[in-house]
């Protein structure tokens, strides 16, 4: 059985998963397959990264259009490949958003909007705690944590998606969890009172 089950290694090269070149081609998922299988998770992932449903929808569309363009030339490693596109798209948008936010303000007013993080509210709806706690993480931390916790990607897959070393992913995840935990606990305490 093991002979058959050599899959796609972390090197990204197909290691003769099925022996037959024809079959390897045939087993390659189609864009339709990929879209149907992943558009829900990818939308959820981007929404959790960005926090804004409209923008998340746009970015999800961007992600899949990019994926479609890249599909014929890509050595497919799903889902890492797709998350890599989604992550880059989301991180780009976050960077861009920051630029847009900063522009209207005069240099002296920086402090006024430095609170990119929302203030802790006095009461919280279900799910709001998670959203707020997530917003307190850096974008890479958020990306790693979401891919691991929410979407169940392995460390190798995240490492591919983030273009980071595996060690770096571990550290990022560790910091993300610790930060999330402290913020989340604060918020939970808050919503309990």
């Amino acid at each position: 059985m093991e002979r058959l089950l050599v899959g796609v290694g972390s090197s990204g090269k197909h290691e003769g998963a099925f022996g037959s070149r024809v079959l390897e081609e045939a087993m390659r998922p189609t864009f339709d397959d990929i879209f149907a299988r992943y558009h829900g998770p990818i939308y959820g992932y981007i929404l959790s990264m960005i926090g804004n449903p409209e923008q998340a929808q746009d970015l999800t569309q961007d992600t899949f259009v990019k994926a479609y363009k890249a599909l014929p030339t890509t050595d497919l490693i799903l889902p890492a490949w797709l998350y890599r596109i989604a992550t880059n798209t989301a991180l780009d948008a976050l960077r861009h958003r920051r630029r847009l936010v900063w522009l209207p303000f005069a240099p002296g007013q920086d402090a006024a909007i430095a609170a990119d993080e929302p203030d802790l509210p006095t009461s919280l709806a279900e799910g709001e705690t998670v959203r707020l706690a997530l917003s307190r993480l850096t974008p890479p931390q958020r990306a790693c944590l979401l891919m691991r916790a929410r979407d169940g990607l392995s460390l190798d897959e995240i490492s591919h998606a983030m273009n980071m070393s595996k060690g770096n992913v571990k550290i990022t995840l560790y910091r993300a969890k610790e930060r999330f935990r402290s913020v989340y606990l604060d918020l939970e305490k808050l919503s309990a009172t």
């Binding site: 899959g7 037959s20 189609t30 490693i77 890492a80």
Partner: protein
């Protein structure tokens, strides 16, 4: 080792990112250190909180993505973005998976929303029990199904109800249920059994209405109380076109070798109680002995299975398409490999109909297994593996394979799953399992499991994500067993068949909900051997009389695919049942098809009317015309004797406007002219719904402008935006729309 040194490792340990050595070290430390164990617990809770967030995907995403892709393709100068471009590689087709989403949406819409619950304190409950009750009370209740007196599982509590001392297996509960808006307490009782809250209802409710119920958990003395408010709906709303396609034997000879000439039939049964069932065909045009692999495509529009005979020349894969409801042989298997060799049985497992006309399946026997894909002539296989296996089944997303190792005489054995992802690994799901069936998303599998050798098998559910096995259906009472089951296209609901043998034996088909664990009956039939859940089917559109599968269609069909050469089937023998019914072909004039209920139906009806030269009726299916009168329309078809639809590709995605919805239907036609000439046409029709327009003309109509059918064309479904080919001139468009007049 100190906590400080372990801390950074703890996170990686939690993420399964440590070497074996490190993992053992962390495990040893955690066993002794409360603080670190607490941290691990916190990590687990954190992940659970992140997973719990539910997100609904806006419906526009799909449409917008496909519109943008069609624009990209248009810029590249390609006409048909999703046509197969390379052999096997271009497995893209439109219209494939969209249907899954449509059904998913419908099913999700059917799930009833529940209000927030209000825990009620019981005066005798301890604080701990109150917390328990509160926790239980906030659990949402899902659909309550069925009619008449029955016991329903209302709710699955997060944990079995238990006291501090010991698990309370049969907590007696006092409860009541009543219909909203009525003070009357129905003749009902709420009980709790372990982790299930059940409602027993003695009389049928006058009408299906929301029901409010409350329950109080109690043992000898009351231990907790809670109130949950829910809605009571009828059976979850299953889309109208949904039903089961199954193979059955109407004989006592079932499962008994060499017992006369038993004849199998392929039949369809709607889940809609008003619709009933229809026998479609004999499963193969020759005396077949073994039918295996019956399986619906991911979108639920097609069903495929294999039929083998003891004669080495006959064997094949057959397909049933709800849009063009006749059975046809799509592949002749014995061309290369006789599947029934002497003394050795090979089985074809779970045939998946792909979007592009190819079929995936696994071939297994006691010693080897391989996964295969059909080509135009034969099939290509993977390497065989040298271990006794059974039920070798690949998930539809091709990320997992499940199989039974070293099966015993009862076909049960250790059930294993291989993850073909970035980190290939093999897991054993259960020590005694059989017949895994993957969900459409490839994330879960249904399988039969035995708690102990000799025990009756139950139907269990396993999830790749959580690795947790859960019993869905308990073993049936003695004398009956669960023998086949299938997923609904949306991946939430499933159906299963409980069969009892003997003189009064029968197969009872039940539907179930994997989320709530609720099951309910639909229909029964004598000896169902294999079953699949389809949708988009219409009884009206099905052949009036059972037919033999039309092997000749394989040739016609293959000619329409870009892959070129035709499949050569060998339908030399006719089954006895079909011998008198027009040599296995469809009857020349089946009952008139006059339905505009679905996009496919209106096209079938249109060409049915043309074939009957009933041009007024055909004309009535048009949403608009290009200026021709009915008389001129009829004249356009003067040369045409009959038109047969050889392929219909319904496109589930639709573009809504203020007044109506639009969709494309791919179509391939063969027209026979009076002079004997046969002409092939293909392309797509633009079809619009008439909802909101004239009330008497419900259903769908053909839109002339935007339809694109050409001589020698291929059936195809472009993305919505491409349903409107830019006409070079109106004359060209017109000629394309009225192909048969040319």
């Amino acid at each position: 080792m100190t906590c400080n040194r372990i801390r950074p490792l703890l996170s990686a340990y939690h993420d399964d990112g440590l070497s074996l050595d490190e993992r053992a070290r962390v495990r040893r430390h955690v066993a002794l250190c409360d603080a670190c164990r607490e941290t691990l617990d916190a990590y687990n809770r954190l992940y659970a909180a992140l997973q719990a967030a539910t997100i609904s995907v806006p419906v526009d995403v799909r449409r917008n993505v496909y519109v943008r892709i069609s624009e990209i393709e248009a810029r590249r100068g390609r006409r048909v973005p999703f046509g197969g471009t390379t052999f096997l590689g271009g497995l893209r087709t439109a219209g494939g998976t969209a249907g899954v989403l449509a059904v998913l949406a419908a099913l999700i819409a059917a799930v009833v929303q529940f209000g927030v619950t209000a825990p009620a304190a019981s005066p005798v409950a301890s604080p701990a029990d109150q917390r328990l009750a509160a926790a239980n009370a906030v659990t949402a209740v899902s659909d309550i199904v069925g009619a008449g007196a029955a016991t329903h599982s209302l709710q699955r509590l997060p944990d079995p109800v238990q006291t501090a001392a010991a698990p309370l297996r049969h907590a007696v509960a006092a409860g009541a249920a009543w219909q909203l808006g009525r003070p009357h307490v129905a003749d009902s009782r709420v009980t709790v059994d372990g982790h299930l809250v059940r409602l027993t209802r003695r009389g049928a409710p006058a009408a299906i209405a929301p029901v409010r119920f409350s329950f109080t958990l109690a043992a000898q003395t009351p231990i907790a109380a809670g109130i949950a408010v829910g809605r009571w709906s009828a059976v979850p709303t299953i889309p109208a076109g949904d039903g089961a396609v199954y193979l059955h034997l109407d004989t006592d000879c079932v499962f008994i070798p060499n017992c006369g000439n038993s004849t199998a039939e392929v039949a369809y049964h709607s889940f809609n109680p008003g619709q009933g069932q229809k026998t479609l065909a004999t499963p193969a045009p020759w005396p077949a002995q073994l039918f295996t692999g019956l399986n619906a495509s991911l979108d639920g529009y097609r069903v495929a299975y294999s039929a083998m005979s003891t004669h080495p020349a006959f064997g094949g894969i057959f397909e049933f398409n709800t849009a063009a409801p006749i059975l046809r042989q799509v592949l002749s298997l014995p061309d290369t490999t006789p599947l029934t060799a002497a003394g050795r049985h090979q089985y074809v497992k779970q045939v998946y109909a792909g979007n592009d006309g190819h079929f995936f399946f696994a071939v297994v026997d006691g010693a080897a297994a391989s996964v295969a894909i059909t080509t135009t002539k034969t099939y290509a296989t993977l390497k065989a593996i040298g271990q006794p296996t059974l039920d070798y089944v690949m998930s539809p997303d091709r990320r997992h394979i499940a199989w039974t190792v070293r099966p015993g005489n009862d076909f049960f054995g250790p059930l294993q799953v291989a993850d073909l992802g970035a980190q290939p690994m093999t897991r054993t799901i259960t020590a005694s399992g059989s017949r895994p069936v993957w969900s459409p998303d490839g994330q879960r599998a249904l399988f039969l499991a035995k708690a102990a050798p000799g025990a009756a098998p139950s139907l269990d559910l396993w999830s790749t994500r959580t690795g947790v096995t859960q019993m869905l259906v308990a073993p049936p009472s003695s004398g009956a067993s669960i023998n086949t089951y299938a997923w609904a296209p949306g991946g939430r609901y499933f159906l299963y068949v409980v069969t009892s043998l003997g003189a009064n034996g029968t197969s009872r088909v039940r539907l179930g909900d994997t989320v709530t664990g609720v099951t309910w009956p639909t229909f029964q039939q004598r000896y169902i051997g294999a079953i699949a859940w389809v949708h988009g089917a219409s009884l009206n559109a099905m052949p009036a009389a059972p037919t033999a599968p039309d092997a000749a269609h394989a040739t016609a069909r293959a000619a329409l695919t870009p892959l070129g050469k035709a499949t050569t089937a060998k339908p030399a023998l006719k089954p006895p049942a079909a011998a008198g019914a027009g040599a296995g072909m469809q009857p020349a004039h089946p009952a008139a098809s006059d339905s505009a209920a679905t996009p496919s139906a209106v096209l079938r009806s249109y060409y049915d009317a043309i074939t009957r030269h009933d041009y007024a009726r055909a004309y009535s299916y048009l949403a608009s015309n290009d200026g021709r009168s009915l008389a001129r329309f009829g004249k356009g078809y003067a040369d045409t004797q009959t038109v047969a639809i050889t392929q219909l590709l319904p496109a589930p995605y639709r573009k809504a406007s203020n007044a109506h919805a639009l969709t494309c239907v791919g179509v391939a036609l063969v027209a026979r002219h009076w002079n004997g000439q046969m002409v092939h046409y293909g392309g797509w029709y633009l079809v619009q719904s008439t909802t909101g327009q004239t009330p008497h003309a419900g259903g769908w109509r053909i839109v002339v402008h935007g339809t694109h059918v050409t001589k020698g064309g291929r059936a195809t479904v472009p993305p919505q935006a491409a349903c409107h080919p830019a006409p070079r001139s109106s004359a060209v468009t017109s000629a394309a729309i009225w192909p048969l007049a040319a």
